[in-house]
Each structure stands twice: as C-alpha cells, then as structure tokens.
Amino acid sequence: MASYRTFGRRALLAGPLLLPLGARVVSAAPAATPVTPALVDAATKEGKVTYYTAMDLSVAEPMAKAFEARYPGIKVTVERSGAERVFSRIGQEMGSRIYRVDVVNSSDAAHFIYWKRQEWLAPFVSTEMARDLPAEMVDADGMFCNQRTHLSTIAYNSRLISPEDAPKGFMDLLQPKYRGKLVKGHPGYSGTIMTATQQISRELGWSYFEKLAKQKVLQVQSATEPPKRLEAGERAVAVDGSDYLFWMARERGLPIEVVLAVEGTPQISNPMGVFKTAPNPNAARLLVSWIMSAEGQSFIVNLSGQYAANRQVKPKPGRPLLSQVKTFKEDPAAVEQQADQIKAQYAKYFKV
C-alpha cells in the first residue's frame, strides 16, 4: 500500500468552532500517530471495521463506501441507530463482554464523558489530526475528537405553510395555529434531541416543553425522522431535527425551509472515538484518521454540508456559516448529569 496521501490544500480559516470537548486545554495528549503503510497493511489484514453511529444512513453509508474505495479490502459495517440507543446497546454489549464496536460516533457528547470514565476508549490522534484539528476539537487525552458539528433546527414545508405564517422561533410554536401541525424527535432515542432538549430547557425553561406537549405533536424517535416527515408532507413544521437533512432535502428540490430560531439554535457536536476492546483496532484507527482527514471531512461536507472539524475544509456554499448562527452553548457535562432527569421530565409532558 502506498503511504498515506498528504494534502497540499490551502489552509483555510476554520470557523471558531469552540467546543467544550477537552476539559483541559493544555493536555497530556498522546503522541500523534502517523498513518504508516504498516498501519494500512495491518488494517487491510483485519479486513473489516464496525462503525456505530447516529448519523443518517444517507450520509454514513456513502461515507463508508468512500472509505472502502480509498482502502480496498476493508469492509465497513455501519451500525446506525439513535445515539441514545447506540449508547444503551454499547452498555449492554460491554456489560456482557461482547466486543463488537470498533469506532463509535455519537450525537450526544455526554456519552464520551461516560465512556472515558469507564476507561472503554483508546487514545488515538493521527499526525494529520494533530496538525489540522483545532485543539478544542480533540479530547485532552486524545480519547476522542469531534467528527463534525450540526444543528437542531426548526423547519417547515413551504407547500403547507406560507413563509408569512412560518414560525420565527420556539415560542411561536406554542401558537394555536400550529396545533396538530408539528413533528418532533425524542430525547430518549436521539442524541441530537437529548442535547437540544438540555439546551432549550436551560434557555427557555421546562414550561416551554409543557406547553409544546399540548400542541398535539407527532412524536417520532430519531432526529433524522422529522426531516423525512416534513418531506412527505405529514406535518407542516418540524420542531427539531438534524439540520443537514432539511438542507439536503431542500437541495433535492423539496419545498423545505430552515428556520434559525430567534431565541437561538441548539448546537450538536458529534464526537468519535476508538474502543479499547475494538476487534479491529488497526482498521478502527485508519477509519478515524481518514474521516478526520481533509479528504474524509470534505466528503461529509460536500455530501451533507455539516460543519467540519478539520480547518482545511471549507464550509459548503449555500449554508449559513456556523459563526454567524446564534447558537446555544453546548454543555455535555450537564447533559451527562441530567440525562435521566431530562428523559423523565420529557415523558411526563409528552407521555412517551
């Protein structure tokens, strides 16, 4: 195998994606590992890698195929479900000493606090990652890095609702005219929604959810489903959901408009790490280093327009710049502490 390709691209200004991933900025990070032909050989010998993720399959599977094309002979199995279910699954599997997960990627950054504390993660930082990722994108001990960032936005189907009638923010959604017209994801299944629920309840108070629950909301599970319900015209307004899917549907010509709420928009980082017990440790490291490389990150950005962690990669044209979006502050530590409480409170209002 040829040695790992280096990128001569212009170093572009990455948006100030300040994420609270590394607790300590000055870190005892492990020495960066170069992607050597030996690593590629070892990975190819393993021949496969299992990637647990919450990213929508329309992005995750093509990304896996791109990796397979880049490193022939390594098959990627994508295990996708809502991040909270990924978390339960891994907990159950580790509890039963079933070591299946190689690389994990969650839309609930709090999960990595837990996994790191359990000492389930293996440190890994490639030389390219050390060079191209801003320090706040990598865990201080190199246990995980932020694969990408996305938003949980409001959106509406412009065939069902005119722009004048569209909500401008969260509080608008409580108006009687939206009753029976809303669809929303669930924090018990989706990491995006869990993260967003923590931020919104902090910023707007739980009373917002209490009132929202009275709006006859169609309750779906994953944050990837509200965009699909909006596409199908099942509901006019999505209360939340992964922004990149709204945009991708819009770019396919569907009548979908994204609303950046006046109150602010929940921001979701998507950390990724290698498990210590990975059955394919070399392929796992190769996959992580490729996804975080300018090539992997460009693939994600070109396809889905999510916000890259790698500063070499330009944002997708036509999308709002992250730096210009009024976002809520992410607080994974609080999510980790409050997750159970959030689920219980949510179930109290929404009954499921």
Partner: protein, 570 residues
C-alpha cells in the same frame, strides 16, 4: 405393544430414559431458566435485595399503570372486532356457495405471512393524517382543506385497527376449520324437521360454532396483548405506551431489568389465566365433532347475495393485504413515499440503497434465513419427538413433556426475550451476542404450535400401523422411519413452513436479544423505522415476503406429492 416389545429382544438398553432426560433438560434451558430469572429479578432491587417495590411502582406510577389499562382496552377491542369480522367471513367461506372461497382462504393465509409491524408501517403510508395516501385521495375527492383527515392511524383507534388487520386471520382459521368439520347431518336433521335455512343457521350452526368463536376471541385477545411491533410503530407517535413498548423502553440506558421483569409478570399471569379459560372452552367443543362418519357439510345457497358476499370478503382482505402491499410497492419505487408512483416519481434509489449501500442488509438476510431454517428444522424435530412420545405414551413422564411443550404459549415474546436476556448474559451459558440465544428464543416461541400440529397429526395415524411394523420385527426407529414418517410427511412440512414464517416475522423477542452482529431482518426494519427510512423499509419488507413465499412454495412442492397417500392411510 406387548407383542412388539417381545418381538424385539436384541435391544440392549432402553433409550427412552436418556431421551426423556435430554428433552426435559432442553426444555428447562429454554423455559424454566429464563422464567426463573424473570421471577428473581421481579422481586429484587438493583442490588439484589428481595423487595416488592417493583410491583408498588408498577401499580402506583401512572407511567406504568396507564400502559396496563391501555393494553387491556386495546386487547378487548381487537378481540371483539376480530370476531365480528372473522365469524361471518369464516361462515361464508365454509358453509355457503360463495364464489372464490378457496382464493379467499389462501389470501387470509397470505395476510398471516405479513408481519404485523410491516402492516403497521404500511398503514402509516396509507392513513397518516396528512401524508397518508387514503387521506390524500379523500381530500382530492371531497375537496377538504389540506389539514383535514378522514383517518388518523396515530390514535388508539388506529392502533386497534392495525392490530385487528393482522389478528383476525387467526380467528378466521379457527372458525372456518370448525365449520368445515361440523357434521352436516345435524343441519340436515334440522331442515328435515322443517326449519328454514336461516333458522338452521341460527339454531344449529351458530351454537355449535360458539365455543370456537370464544376460543378465537381469546386467541385474538392474547395476540393483541403481547404484540410489540405495531404498538411500537403507531403508539409512540400517538403519545402513549402499551405494556410491551413500556417493557422495551426499560432497556434504555440505564437498563432497569427489575422493573421490566415486574412489568412482564402481569402479561404472563394474564396469558396463563386466559389460556386456562381457553382450554375450558375448547374442552367443551367435543360435542360438535362427535358422531362417527358424517357427510360433508351442506352449503347454503346465497343466491343473489353471492356477489355482495365476495365483495365483502375482498374488501376485508384489502385491509391487511391489497392496500398495504400497494402502499409498500408505491413507497419502494417512488422518490417521496407520500406521492403516487408515476413515470416522473419512479426511482430505483431505494432498491440500490437497500442492496448496495445499506451494510446491514445482507448480514440481516443471512441471519434471518439461517435462523428460520435452523429453527424450523430443529424446532420441528423437537416437536415431532415430543409429539411422538406423548401420542404413543412412549415413556413415563410424557405428560410433563406435553406440559412443557405447550407452556411457551403462555410466555409473551418480549417476556421471553427479557427472561432469556437475564438468564444468558451470565455464566455458565453466556449466549447473549450469539445466534444461539435467538435460536433458543425462536424454538421456544414456535414449539407449542408445532407440537400441537404434529400431535394432532400423530393422532390421525393409528398405532395399529406401527404395531404391525414392530410385530414384523422392525425396531421402533425403523417403524418410525418406514411407516410413521411417510404418513406424517405433509404435516411435518406444513409445520416446518409454519415455524419458518413465524421466525421471519418475529420481532418482540429479537428486539431484546439482538446485538449488532446478530441482527435479523425484523430488527433491521424496526431500526430503519426509528430513522424514518421508509423507502428501505418497503424494499426490505417486500423482499422478506417474496423470499418467505418462495420458501413455502418450494416446501409445499416437496410435500405435495405425498399428501394424498397420507390422507388415505390416515
């Protein structure tokens, strides 16, 4: 029998004891151990202390109590609806000269092959309030505004409807079979004594069929009570839980197996109680079939009502079959599931995505067909062995075997899943994460029905035939092979198919027991539902049905040629 045992003196030792021990041990692994752990957990705290606290929570916390009440009201409604639909249909098919009655029977069987959760997803495509195809059609015809809907599948009523669609076939089959077997002489006597067609139906046919109908009502009640897939798909969007979805949600992190076990117990107890009731009701059915040789039942002439009757039957069948499959086909090949398929909206994207991009498709297909084949074969053999031992009273303790083989009927799939999870995530048998735990679950779930089918088949082969074989010097095994087996072949193949279909559509135990490497098709479809990928769901569901149908057709080809002989001999 005595002659047989003396005629075979060279048999060195009695195989019946080890066989009994092995079969009993197998059943213990499958049933006693998981249920034992379920009990232990239900009465334990997180730290393993004895407690009744889980039950206090269960009956005082509204988030548990409400699902219990909801589940009961769903089950009662489903049971009533199924009887109201299945009884007239069964009667039309079995006792009248309605045209196409064979086709109607076959189609009802076909709707039984459809997994209820696939049906629920298809009904979302049809009757979601805004994007549902039927609602769009209604708005087109009536000119109603875009936010008005005729149907809303995301309601308690919608869920009851969706469950009924895939439960009424059970009642239909029971009723139709009972009416098939009902002696025509009784009705003939009634008409000879001067009663008209309708009076005979009312005074003779209905009372004779009533016990079966009651049994059918119980079967429908139990199906609805223990169903997981349809509620998981329709109840959560509607904003309520049933007991099974609640149990499932208790496996979210941090898992609460104690509460799940406690919540599973009411399901278990209710099921056992109802099965006892069913046994009582069915036990009285005997009088309907007494009376030696009797003629084929007399068909009632419907006259002008023949075609409306067919129309009604086909309308009923459109609900579990024609409409859902049309919706699945539409979704599989169109860009947006809520738009009708036209040349412009046609796409192969879903097909390409499912088979070339989705990395779980092939492993799930392989796991499913491997497990279905293995379960059908091993479960069929086990059922055959038990049925033989019980039917021929071949060894002491056969009653225990009969009980154990029927017991799983009382264990709802999700409860069995929870029990197996608790029993086999620990040494000495750490089976969780392997296909073995799924195999055990599926064999256990399918065993009662398989045993009952084969048991009644054994009863139809008179022991005389076997005894003749043994008197002529054949061993018990040889007799089985040369005499009994050929006679049972078609029943065995039917049972094999039955188990195969049952495994392919099983979700409730699998959803608790799968790991990423042991994912089956039903779980994959369920996962895709979570992310709303209906296109892939449609493709996978149709694939599942097509492959299942192919397997059944092939199996019947193999078995078909011998059916006639078995009838004659039996």
């Amino acid at each position: 029998m005595m002659a047989a045992s003396t005629s075979y003196p060279t048999h060195p030792f009695d195989v019946s004891r080890p066989v009994l021990v092995i079969v009993a041990a197998l059943l213990a692994v499958m049933i006693v151990l998981p249920m034992g752990w379920l009990m232990v957990y239900a009465f334990s705290t997180k730290d393993g202390q004895a407690t009744l606290g889980n039950f206090v929570t269960l009956f005082t916390d509204p988030s548990f109590f409400d699902p219990l009440v909801t589940t009961l009201s769903i089950s009662v409604s489903v049971s009533v609806i199924c009887c109201a639909v299945a009884a007239p249909m069964g009667w039309l098919v079995a006792r009248t000269d309605m045209p196409l009655s064979r086709t109607v029977r076959t189609l009802v069987m076909a709707s039984l092959v459809t997994p209820p959760f696939v049906g629920a997803v298809a009904w979302e495509m049809l009757a979601a309030p805004n994007s549902g195809l039927l609602n769009q059609l209604w708005r087109l015809i009536s000119g109603a505004p875009s936010d008005e809907a005729l149907f809303d599948i995301y309601t308690l009523e919608g869920l009851i409807f969706a469950i009924s669609c895939y439960t009424f076939p059970y009642v239909f089959i029971l009723v139709a079979n009972a009416l098939d077997r009902m002696p025509g002489e009784l009705e003939d006597a009634s008409s000879m004594l001067g009663a008209g067609t309708w009076a005979t139906a009312r005074r003779i046919t209905v009372p004779l069929a009533l016990p079966t109908l009651l049994a059918g009502a119980l079967v429908a009640f139990l199906q609805a009570l223990n169903l997981f897939g349809s509620p998981a798909i329709l109840a959560i969007p509607a904003g309520f839980h049933t007991l099974t979805t609640k149990i499932w949600s208790l496996f979210q992190f941090p898992p609460k197996p104690e509460l799940a076990a406690a919540a599973a117990l009411p399901l278990l107890i209710l099921t056992v109680a109802l099965l006892r009731a069913q046994a009582l009701v069915l036990g009285r059915r005997g009088y309907a079939v007494l009376g030696g040789k009797y003629g084929a039942p007399r068909l009632i002439r419907l006259g002008l009502w023949r075609w409306p009757a067919v129309g009604l039957a086909l309308f009923v069948l459109s609900l579990p079959l024609f409409l859902p499959y049309a919706a699945l086909l539409n979704t599989a090949f169109s860009r947006v599931s809520s738009q009708l398929l036209t040349a412009e909206t046609f796409t192969l994207h879903n097909l390409v995505f499912t088979f070339w991009e989705l990395s779980s498709t092939m492993p799930a297909l392989e796991n499913t067909f491997l497990l279905a084949t293995a379960t059908a074969t091993l479960g069929g053999l086990l059922a055959l062995l038990i049925a033989y031992i019980v039917a021929r009273r071949a060894m002491v303790g056969h009653r225990v075997l009969a009980f154990l083989a029927t017991a799983p009927l009382a264990i709802p799939g999700i409860v069995l899943g929870v029990g197996l999870f608790l029993a086999y995530t620990r040494p000495p048998l750490t089976l969780y994460g392997t296909l073995w735990i799924l195999l055990i679950a599926f064999v256990t779930i399918e065993l009662p029905a398989a045993y009952q089918q084969l048991g009644s088949a054994f009863h139809s082969v008179h022991p005389e035939l076997e005894e003749a074989g043994r008197m002529l010097g054949a061993t018990r095994l040889r007799t089985l092979k040369d005499i009994t087996a050929p006679l049972l072949r078609s029943a065995a193949i039917a049972t094999w198919c039955f188990i195969f279909v049952g495994v392919v559509r099983e979700l409730s135990a699998a959803v608790v027991l799968f790991t990423s490497e042991t994912k089956v098709l039903s779980v994959l479809i369920f996962d895709l539902k979570e992310s709303g990928d209906v296109g892939a769901i449609a493709v996978l569901s149709l694939t599942m049905i097509v492959l299942t149908t192919i397997v059944i057709v092939i199996a019947n080809r193999i078995g078909g040629s011998v059916r006639l002989t078995s009838r004659v001999a039996g």
